[in-house]
Symmetry: C2
């Protein structure tokens, strides 16, 4: 019923085989082909547009797509390359941007009437970083209303009758069906990792503070994190290297030295990793097919995994809920006070509930974070990474809700980097494996995620 399959975790980089459809290349392959002039950005973007034109009527991943504008960016990238100028990490590679992230040249509407026709004056910090790396900003991907729980129109490309997850619905779906090799999302509870699990793509929520949040819709200053989508680990590392620049205008932006993640991710672990499998507090809510898939996965990993109990994680789950609800009410509450008719009933209820949280409970929940993280950090001195489900099961049927983020919120709260590795399948739908690493050790986490994918594919 459930099977462990490795997909694309470690594509070989044989540089000179025929390229095939450019839309099927990984970002690393595409960037390398563009750099050696075997491919133009225009060809790549044209192929992606063709893929979008083919699938978008059913998948509905895009909130805004300016075909001509994308092609203009691609041609400019090609002109730059022809002149022999130095190329950035993502030169000519298209990236989809979740529609809560500001773009100076496209609308940013956050799937809310509050932001209808809103055109930001400036790029968000993370978009500016991607442009500096040479990326083509392809368009804006569908989000749930204000990155909260009311779904957008996007459908799961693996099975159109199922939700793609949310709130980064369009980014996950677009990467999953090859419309773009890379996309950005955001996560406050489980908005990056859950859609990745449901759509069967690689995703990463980097360490809190690694990628700038300046110019991104503010839902919770303590939790909001930019997330990354790709179709292999190497591409996640490449995108992270391009996106992670220090930004003095984001107060939590990490100003320490940033090792090149691509190099660490591509290296072999000094010893074969041992993973700590944690069921996490919501295990009882997981679906039977997920439990079955995990039983098989754990069996297959043998001595490379040990089950660990960490009861304090229940508190992390609860603290995340308190912090998100309270901060969300503080920020979105102003929308509701000014334009109540433009806020959906579902979100209105959520904000009302958040408004009832007492300041003292909120302050204590924020203050628990480093204490609860200390136990995780301690565990990660003994294990290579924590392994836990990315979602409660495969994507639920229907489009009326985007699923439950309970397997993710605790890790968002703790600020750890997490990766979704699309390794499992049940009932024809993907189920992700979530790997969790220590804060600021994103490179080691990617390296271990790559090892896991290759190991299950029989490559190591």
């Amino acid at each position: 019923m459930a099977k462990a399959t490795a997909k694309g975790g470690a594509r070989s980089k044989s540089a000179h085989k025929p390229l095939g459809n450019p839309a099927d290349l990984t970002a690393c392959e595409a960037a390398a082909a563009i750099a050696r002039r075997d491919l133009t950005s225009e060809e790549l973007v044209t192929a992606c547009i063709a893929r979008i034109d083919q699938l978008e009527p059913e998948v509905k991943a895009w909130a805004f797509l300016g075909r001509d504008h994308a092609l203009d960016q691609a041609r400019a990238a090609d002109a730059w390359a022809r002149e022999g100028k130095g190329l950035g990490l993502l030169h000519g590679v298209p990236v989809g941007i979740k529609d809560v992230i500001d773009t100076a040249d496209m609308p940013t509407e956050a799937n809310s009437a509050l932001f209808k026709d809103y055109r930001p004056r400036q790029d968000a910090g993370c978009v500016a970083a991607l442009r500096a790396a040479g990326a083509v900003i392809m368009g804006k991907t569908v989000t749930t209303e204000l990155a909260s729980s009311t779904p957008g129109a996007t459908r799961n490309p693996r099975n159109l009758a199922h939700t793609p997850g949310g709130s980064s619905s369009g980014s996950a779906a677009a990467v999953a069906c090859g419309m773009v090799p890379l996309a950005l999302g955001t996560q406050t509870a489980g908005s990056v990792i859950r859609p990745a699990s449901f759509c069967g793509v690689y995703a990463m929520k980097p360490t809190f503070g690694l990628v700038s949040r300046r110019g991104v819709l503010l839902q919770s200053h303590t939790l909001d994190t930019i997330g990354l989508y790709a179709r292999c680990i190497e591409d996640l590392a490449l995108l992270a290297d391009a996106a992670a620049v220090h930004d003095s205008q984001d107060p939590v932006s990490i100003s320490a030295a940033r090792p090149r993640l691509s190099a660490i991710a591509a290296s072999d672990p000094p010893l074969p990793p041992v993973f700590a499998f944690i069921r996490t507090p919501a295990w009882e809510q997981t679906s039977p097919v997920l439990r079955e898939a995990y039983t098989e996965l754990i069996a297959e990993l043998g001595g490379r995994v040990e089950e660990v109990d960490m009861p304090t994680l229940a508190q992390a789950t609860e603290c995340q809920r308190i912090v998100q609800s309270a901060e969300n009410a503080a920020y979105y509450g102003l929308f509701r006070e000014r334009k109540p008719e433009l806020v959906s009933d579902g979100l209105t209820e959520r904000l009302k509930s958040g408004a009832r949280i007492a300041a003292q409970d909120y302050i204590r929940a924020v203050n628990m974070r480093d204490m609860l993280y200390a136990a995780v950090e301690d565990l990660l001195t003994h294990y290579s990474a924590i392994l836990a489900p990315s979602s409660l099961g495969p994507a639920p049927k229907g489009l009326s809700n985007t699923g439950d983020p309970v397997m993710n919120g605790l890790w968002t709260y703790l600020g750890t980097p997490t990766v979704n590795v699309p390794l499992l399948e049940a009932d024809g739908l993907p189920i992700g494996v979530q790997l969790i690493g220590a804060r600021r050790d994103d490179g080691r986490l990617l390296r271990n995620a790559r090892w896991l994918a290759r190991h299950l594919a029989g490559e190591v």
Copy 2:
């Protein structure tokens, strides 16, 4: 009825006149005399103990005083000096420590049964810094219950029938009547500047983050600030130089370079200062004698002062109240939940009121801070410092309450450095002038405070 008088703002440093009673020396004079071997720390501490023995029965400034332990520290300082070793800024100079600040060699009881006989394992960061500068830690000074509003036993040395103010009651009173030249207090609303105004001493609340708060009773992580008491500006600068060291264990500790405040404070302003007089939102609550005294002061300052209106400060006052109440409830609420019988009725009521604050209001109040500060910083590019009352009037009669911090809370919230200059008097009681400077510009503030005191004394 009210008169402007400068007291000790600029004592001349003629080094070789007879010393008189060592307890009457400023800290600068005493440290210099000890350094040149004209005075021993033992003589100084003995004189201070004699002053304490004389006045303590009436003033009640001390929660703990170990005479032998203080003399032991003094003799050790003298032995060190005799051996010709290098001396710290405060070598051999006694300092009183508010009893909410941890001391490894003395109890720290915070005037609460909750902390009866509590002996911390480590010195607070600020105490450790003073010891590193050679200071003698004289003893612990009386605070209100948990540095909140229920008064301690201290009386105002200028008139024993009046409150000394709070919560740093003992530190203000001890310095005012010559028991010690220097003392530390803490301020969350107005607990340093108000007692200084009532007792007629110099005091400083440095920029938020300048002095470490590690090991200090936590009432409000957003507001709690270590304050300094002395009998002249030069001594405030000396104490600030000794106390202000970076502490990586206090998350708000400023890690930037720290110019030597003593040198800046002792220098002349490049141009004669111009002060911005702001009545602040609580002006209507001030006493008639205070208004009269300020009218005279403003007249005397002539072209050196301009009245400025800043209506946004009402919001700062309100935000401070919300933040203090909410954080206080979060931290002290745990005491109340565990040992309700050990918390006074007054504090219990305050905590209950704080527990009702909504998280969203708290979050918005915290977030307003930098926005409201921007207007103050802008004003301080045009004026040398802001001038405002340090308290609503002279010390109220009676010991049942310590007065209202409403003239101070807004500046604590904004994180600006403030100084109390004891320049005015009404009905035989002191009234302070509060000067406010830009964050991290503590040196310029002290220089302007010294200029003001000297100007009113006819010296400049």
